[in-house]
Symmetry: C2
Subunit: 644 residues, 2 copies
Amino acid sequence: MDYSLLWLDWKRKSSLPAYTKRIVGMPATRQGKAALRELLNGLKAMGADSELCSGSDGCPSIRLNECPGGGEKAELHRSGEGLALIGSGRGLIYGVFYLLRHLALGEDYPEWESSPAYPIRMLDHWDNADGSIERGYSGRSFFFRSGRPVCTARTRDYARLLASCGLNGCCINNVNVHGSALKLLTGSYKRELKRIAVCLEEYGVALWLSVSFSAPMELGGLATADPLDPEVRQWWQDTSRQLFSAIPNLAGFLVKADSEGRPGPHSYGRSHAEGANMLAEAVSPFGGKILWRCFVYNCTQDWRDTETDRAKAQRDAFAPLDGQFRENVFLQIKNGPVDFQIREPVSPLLGELEHTSSILEFQIAQEYTGQQKHVCYLLPMFREVLDQQMGRRADRDLVAERISAVCAVSNTGDDPNWTGHDLAAANLFGFGLLSWDPSAEPEAIAREWSILTFGGDPEVTDTVTDILLRSRSVYEKYTVPLGIGWMCVPGTHYGPSPEGYEYDRWGTYHRATHREIGVERGPGGTGFTEQYSPALAGMYASKETCPEELLLFFHRLPFDYRMKDGRTLLQRIYDDHFEGVEEARAMSDAWDRLEDRLDPAVFARVRARFREQLRSAAEWRDVVNSWLYRLTLIPDEKGRKLYL
Amino acid sequence: MDYSLLWLDWKRKSSLPAYTKRIVGMPATRQGKAALRELLNGLKAMGADSELCSGSDGCPSIRLNECPGGGEKAELHRSGEGLALIGSGRGLIYGVFYLLRHLALGEDYPEWESSPAYPIRMLDHWDNADGSIERGYSGRSFFFRSGRPVCTARTRDYARLLASCGLNGCCINNVNVHGSALKLLTGSYKRELKRIAVCLEEYGVALWLSVSFSAPMELGGLATADPLDPEVRQWWQDTSRQLFSAIPNLAGFLVKADSEGRPGPHSYGRSHAEGANMLAEAVSPFGGKILWRCFVYNCTQDWRDTETDRAKAQRDAFAPLDGQFRENVFLQIKNGPVDFQIREPVSPLLGELEHTSSILEFQIAQEYTGQQKHVCYLLPMFREVLDQQMGRRADRDLVAERISAVCAVSNTGDDPNWTGHDLAAANLFGFGLLSWDPSAEPEAIAREWSILTFGGDPEVTDTVTDILLRSRSVYEKYTVPLGIGWMCVPGTHYGPSPEGYEYDRWGTYHRATHREIGVERGPGGTGFTEQYSPALAGMYASKETCPEELLLFFHRLPFDYRMKDGRTLLQRIYDDHFEGVEEARAMSDAWDRLEDRLDPAVFARVRARFREQLRSAAEWRDVVNSWLYRLTLIPDEKGRKLYL
């Protein structure tokens, strides 16, 4: 096997509760059987001498009780000196993994009664048919090779990893559908797709496909993809029928339409709702769903145009359509209004939809957050988003309560450690746990992940947890100041280029002069703040009440603006950048001190990443600070080195 | 035929001198026969009713008198009522093309007695084996297709074009040798190469090849490419013997070594002289020559490092080696010390070499000068370089007199018009004429090229000549100010990005603050000016005597620096950019007025390029000016629009 099993690589335990010796229960379904197998194998790996018994004979045991139906609920109760696990086949899978994880954490009688918060909890892979991965930082695709989907032993282990942290779906191909990925919709690759779907299904993981809105033209030879055209509708219905009948575990389609050059209903004068509903109708007979991305903006903006504000685009495009979508359409909304920056306010669209289902999209692929060369534990950011009160209604007003589903752009590839940076696997694991329970604590998740991954040495657990929890703030400090975004190198999005996007077409500007920086988004500016509820709008619109970490997202400010602690805006940015590098060094040093406590290969791999992080962090610090120094000619108050 | 013949597409003349009726002479060599054929075909195309006669019978005639030997001298004399053309086979070719061109210009008795100024006058093609062209803006390669060299009818027409303007060599593959181009040295493609060489030879055009310094490892399986290693030397000798004996018209090798990541002698602690001499020794028995590029600099500079000055690198690397090179080595020196920017001073290395042959390298591929989307007639720039007095000795001190050979990076590809922009062919033609006679006048060249290309309509000739002569200054005005260079988009080198190279590794910085811009290269700065003779050094070192168009190449200056005409530096830059766009528009309008006088396809093609030039020029203007405005917050004195 040329890859690790991450947190499923169960460590040997010196002692286990007596009930682990005896497993009772004969699940009937394929998923129930998988649960049983995971339990036996997991306990064996931990050193238990478990036996599958037809009855408990009064001895302590783990009793698996499979219920009919396909629900995801799992119940794990103490039963005498043993445990009882109750659920459907899928519920048993979640329960078994919960049990194994908590035994590994050292709990004697883990009890749990839980249903997931959302029925759809999935990963979006941006894998291309040629095996490359858009914004992939962990090797090549394990779903595609040389233009074709492939199903290997790794597919099954991938499904196990997903199920073990609560995920139940994945879209295996890039939302930018090109090359032979177009043909996934038609007969060409049905056999491979079915193989993958069946493999995933064993662990309750549904298969999703990204489709191109113009597929009726590209594949069907039609002259149009107009969603109101009867032939087009028929083509989608026929294609869906064939696909859903061939692939048992297909859940639906993900669509990026009228976005960044992708085809969509606007080409035919139709709305997003007309486009999405046409697809929804086609997949509806098979229980299929449509995930319709809201990442829509003008990507050929003239930088001279100060009226257009990209942050406003998604709410402007979709809020007026609320209520027009079929019930099996989910609007897929990125967490922030722009694009996965290290700091953004929550997307105002998340507060708008009252009659439309939505799926919140995070990105664990670290496109703008260090590309899995830098440690950046994203769970605290995700929690901020989920915990945001939108101020639109009295109850169920939190983002976590307003959404109907969650997904994340995956950070996986065929690297031996799956995620390039070993510590990036915490984002994968953590996203899973959060998708099941959005009130899960980032610190507890980090601690659990560390123990499962590196074993129970408290020194290791404490250090790794501490590194993870500090990492996002550290990354933010040495990169882009106070929510302003987009100071990365255009195209690659790695490394600093403060003016790189300034005169380009992407609508991402800071318009810095030697006196001021930022775009004013309050009522006196682009008016973006007005997209929020009055409470949020008021808070963001005022410099005094705007959270400081978002100050430059919302406001254009002079460099001598006084922060709450009395420092100037400029000095705050200088300080953050110097501190960020020092803090990165401290994280790296802390890791180095674990050398004798970790597997040498893992230790060395992460150490090498830290070396690159420190190099890159110093580059960020020096470029951003020197750029500001050249602009302002105001030196650092502490006399630290800036470069002319 | 899917391409034009450019200036060799002879136009019908209403009258021709009587002597064109009768051609006398039977050249014996392949080249002499080609000359005769060109003469007959050319005259026929112009409408002459020419006959090849065994004698003149006392009637006016053109008498071809082929002399033995391989010299390039051509003599064209009036002889009674006719003309006598005297030369070797190669001389006859040059004489015939001269005669045809001048008949086309309307001269009755063109007389000429001329030898070329340099024995090597060549084009360097940056064509890759896969058919792509590095920095190519005119389609794909016509020398390579799918990894192999190809010889087609176009190869012969290419040779005709070269000979017709005086060129006698071409290096067909990229100096960055990779892919299957590596194998050009060994047996793999000998048949194709021989075919190309034979085809070129008919028109006196020699074949050159770019080679990789580490070929003994890449191809020979040796463990080293150390130039002092006996096995390495033997490998090069054997390889050269096989290659030169298989390819009759091979002139030698072009080498980019120890430059931008290419392998070279420095890897083995050897000098450029040791590296070049080893190759020179290997090709010497076959009359071969080595062209050794001096484009050597630190391409991983830390932008924080203000000591290193890329402009100094070439002189520092090569001047100390003067006299150490074998006589069949030519050091290939770019015209400026940096890299083909729209404005640079002459390379100081051109003033240094007293005991080493040099080949001056121009670039007619418009990498930094508009990529054949913008008109930019480069001959005035080339003349400035050739006419530069280096101040190193009493006689033969001009660059044109110090160099031993000339070459230019070619602007050709398989586009139907060869050069993408129809007007870019003037650079190809003009470089040829200048390589034969470095005192040729850019205006006369432009006029001649226009008449040969578009016919004799004086309105067309005047307009085209005027556009060409203004074009370089116009391009310079709206792009990079006063010699500072490198404000283009990194990588592509097209379009503006004033800070694009600022924090990168290429040694190309302006270090602008809100008060000052530029790198000081005088004695108080990097000391680059000291690389020149005292006269030039003194002129460049002083802001007062430094030519204004080079002011920001040599000096760091405050934006309120007063130019000679009283304007501030900043206002001068603003003005240049506004004027440059207006002047580009005037050129475009002038072209539009030729609509009824030109072939509709040619007219439309050039008009489309002008549209793009105007769009791009406005972008350059707005980005550079707005960037300066944001830096300084000083408005344009004339109140023109700048963008915050």
